[in-house]
Symmetry: C3
Subunit: 139 residues, 3 copies
């Protein structure tokens, strides 16, 4: 069994943003030499998500507005977590809707994707350096 472990670092300039990280993951699959296996990609921070969906500008705006409706940032006092001095309770909630991780099949040395699948890093509490973990196992 082969394995590869890499951490990708991101520093998003605003509170929330959605980054297509598919090219970086594809490069790591190639680097791993794995032909058949699984690729785990997960946020290592609990106010961010890794998810798979479409890289379409309108959809990213729809996600952002929808998540803000489901778990509004303000008023920050509405969340008990923010009594700790944080203002990011909403980010912990939004991340649960979008998920922590994706597991993608590797077939014939490549990510086994449908026609529009793209891997995104979703930041809900940015303006600091945060990591994504990529773990590949297989043969």
């Amino acid at each position: 069994m082969k394995s590869l472990t890499e951490h990708l670092w991101f520093e998003v300039g605003k509170r929330r943003d959605y980054l297509n990280i598919t090219p970086q993951i594809e490069a790591l699959v190639k680097k791993s030499g794995v032909r058949e296996g699984l690729c785990l990609v997960n946020a290592m921070h609990i106010t961010a998500s890794v998810y798979i969906n479409d890289d379409e500008e309108g959809l990213l705006a729809d996600y952002d507005e929808w998540l803000e409706g489901l778990a509004p940032h303000a008023p920050v006092e509405r969340y008990r977590h923010n009594n700790t001095g944080e203002d990011n309770a909403d980010a912990h909630l939004k991340r649960q809707v979008m998920g922590r991780e994706v597991v993608v099949a590797i077939t014939g040395g490549k990510l086994d994707f449908g026609p529009w699948e793209q891997i995104f890093y979703a930041e809900f509490d940015g303006r600091r350096r945060k990591r994504v973990l990529v773990k590949i196992i297989g043969e």
Copy 2:
């Protein structure tokens, strides 16, 4: 390490539906010959989900109504994604609530399930052919 890769095709006759695909997955686990390992099942399209829950008619109706409340289909103009000519933005949102994939343990050559766990394909933008990927690795 053994591995097996299969694509299951579905064409759902209406916009939204919920299909129990457990028997197909069980057959693929058997075919793989894997006794101890992991089985990844994921939607390959970004307006559909694979999830695990109960095969109970009332619950499926509850899911459908609840998801329509969280991310209504109409008016389609409320979503920027639909400016591209699509009318399926809501399907991209519903799919995030229900998830893209499940990873199920294989123990003793079988899906290692609790008493009521069933694997579902949830279609949120049907009336065309779409795929699910099954990837099994182990020994």
Copy 3:
């Protein structure tokens, strides 16, 4: 390839609760002897979740209130699933928001975690014995 399969049992005294199960999972990773691999942790019951987020009391209260807002328990008659004699339809919905499972990388014999990641068992229909499955594969 090594593998380890264990079931953890829980009996939560009230309807809903959130238990940090990270120490139990860490002990199983050690027991497995796996240095590089994947650790799947999933609820075996369909009214409970396994998820990763912060072990902070205020946040746990925020999650509970937020989930009750998204999928209220009462009136129980609002859900068709409850016509079966159950009163736990809301628990099936809440569990979909928080997720069934997590897959965590094992690197150098340990869970490869970010600074605040903790594994939680979320119970949405307690007061009876329920299980979590831990499956570890790797080398």
